[in-house]
Amino acid sequence: MKFIIPRIALRNLSRQKKRSFLLGGAIAFGIMIVTLINGFAGAFIENVSENFSYLMAGHVFVQGAEKTASGKRLSVIRDDSIIFSALRDSGLDYEFATKTSEVSASLYFEGKTIRQTLTGLDLATNLFLRERVVLRQGSWDTIGPDSIILSEKIASRLNVLPGDRITASFQTITGQNNIADFTLAAISVDSSIIGSTMSYVDLAYINEAIGLKSGEYMALGFMLRDLKAAEPFAARLYTSMAGMGIHLFERSAGEEGTATTPFQAMMRAQRTEDWEGSRYSVYTIDDIVSQAKQIVVALDGASLVILLVLFAIVMIGINNTFRMVMYERIKEIGTMRALGVQRKEIKSLFLNEALFLAIGGAVSGIVLALIAMSLLSLIDFGMNTPAFMIMKNGHLSFFVPPLRAVFNVVIIAILTLLAAYFPAKAAAKMEPAVALRTAK
């Protein structure tokens, strides 16, 4: 008897192939949409972090801070030998290190002005940046000491073309006003909102302009072989540096319930904490782009809402169908009851049908979603697309967390069982004699 009910339930489903196919199809469609959204959200943060780390030239960063006698806070690494020594001691491995300085500047060209952050790095030797930053106009071959690379958006707002001279005004690390002239060497493709704000200049040139000496800079970025290694790398580097007696700002996990990223929380600590001399911060790319996690949470939340709305509609369909099924099989139910089948077994029969329908539909939906993901990820959008930041090498990429898929299937199963419960209960309550004499 234990397996008879499920077998009858399966047989009943196959008896009404068209109806089962439509109901299961509706469930599969809903699950497919939700799985696609989950898959997109699953890969989103990794893609953003990875792409952003390429633009920032690092997965893990060390930033130097110094307080002057007058209490002014400077961002500077005067001597990096101690950082590299800590790296050697901890046996950490990385692909390459990039030294950068950043300054917020006003760019001027023929009456037009725009505020922009200039990132200084060694443009002549940073081959990795050359691979990642796609140039729309200009060439890497024309890079000189006073070169600047602007994104399309910024170049268009300033109305500049490669070869134009741009004046920049900014403050030195100690806050004094200074001016420097740059030659626009190239215009890069806008890669998302973040990419379109990046402007690159030569490290030595900008360092001199902001008052840093030769060999000094603001931050050191480490590019690792794998983004997933960033957190353990940062943790070990932090421990190693702390072990060498280097003063460090505590790594932060962000602020609960706020949009503040761990990086922002760390910067706030630098402003508010009482400290003196030199100190270092160690942080990962995830600490900077952790706000992207909120987008993932929003996408997951949206997918759950879609799931519930879709299934509210499907539930009504299932509920009506099972009510119809109950009336269609009223004599069958009467016969079964007359032959000794118990009320709970009748209810179980209906619920088993609903459960098989839900699982069949959900599994089909996941399979369909996986097929759709495979097909979508084959499309090459190229590196020039504005959506480059959320893609993996110009392709859409997906990752469905297994637990999330299981959660969706469980939700569908519960909702379907709930939809079928009342018709099942009504069928179970039916008196055999009444059922047998009821004319369809």
């Binding site: 007058s70 209490g71 002014k72 006003s106 001027y108 009456g111 037009k112 002005t113 004046t167 005004s169 403050q171 030195t172 100690t174 806050g175 004094q176 006003n177 200074n178 001016i179 420097a180 302009a209 008052g211 402003r271």
Partner: protein, 262 residues
Amino acid sequence: MNTIDISRRRTPALAVAAVLILCLGMSLGAQGLSNQAAEKILEELDDLGNFPGKDYSALFTIVSEKPGEKQSVSQVRVFRRDSRKQFTILVMLPEVNKGQGYLREDDNVWFYDPTSRKFSHSSIKENLQNSEAKNADFTASSLKDDYGIQSIAEGKLGQYPVWILELKAKNNEVPYELLKLHIRKDRTMLLKEEAFSVNGRLMRTTLYPKYVSLENKLLPSQILIVDEINKGEKSQISMTEQNVEKLPDKVFTKAFLEQVNR
């Protein structure tokens, strides 16, 4: 004849000598100024711009011009208490920014946005309301302490003979490394200030065409700030309702900025 000849020969020689002596005298006079009088002038300029033991309030109307943009008018009410390195700036115009404010206490400057009702960190080096004026322009003057005199020259600005003082920053706490001041000779009045970048490029010219007298002090009532990097960008500031009466302490608090917006 010889005498005449001699005298004829002596006359140009004497004239040259006289001119040389005069030039030397003027030069020495200017050099002498650089050591003592010039510093005294800087001290006087600082005194004119500061109100020790008193507070200062005024209504500033700022007319800004930028290339390719419409002229914009802002109005801010400025409250200063130099003895405690405090200021409060309350934006009155444009209507869209009304209620915004800046509060300085010591070296901290906060910006208040009435829409979000939040304070955020700002700096005295930030520009005020998209104009060429910086928050630092509303702080007490400390030329004598912050700058050393590099050179002194004489010149004329319009109809006024002026001392031209070139100043170099003594520390890196000031926004401009080099300043060139044009100060009226007959009475200590700053007429023009040129501010240079660290690498010696002219960034900003400030003209002081009008002054008013307040409690025996000459205060500028109009300032013209010209951006020398972005040609065509300038701001004219007119100061009215200038007052040095004591202000209530609450004016220099965050609560004041919040309260005026209720």
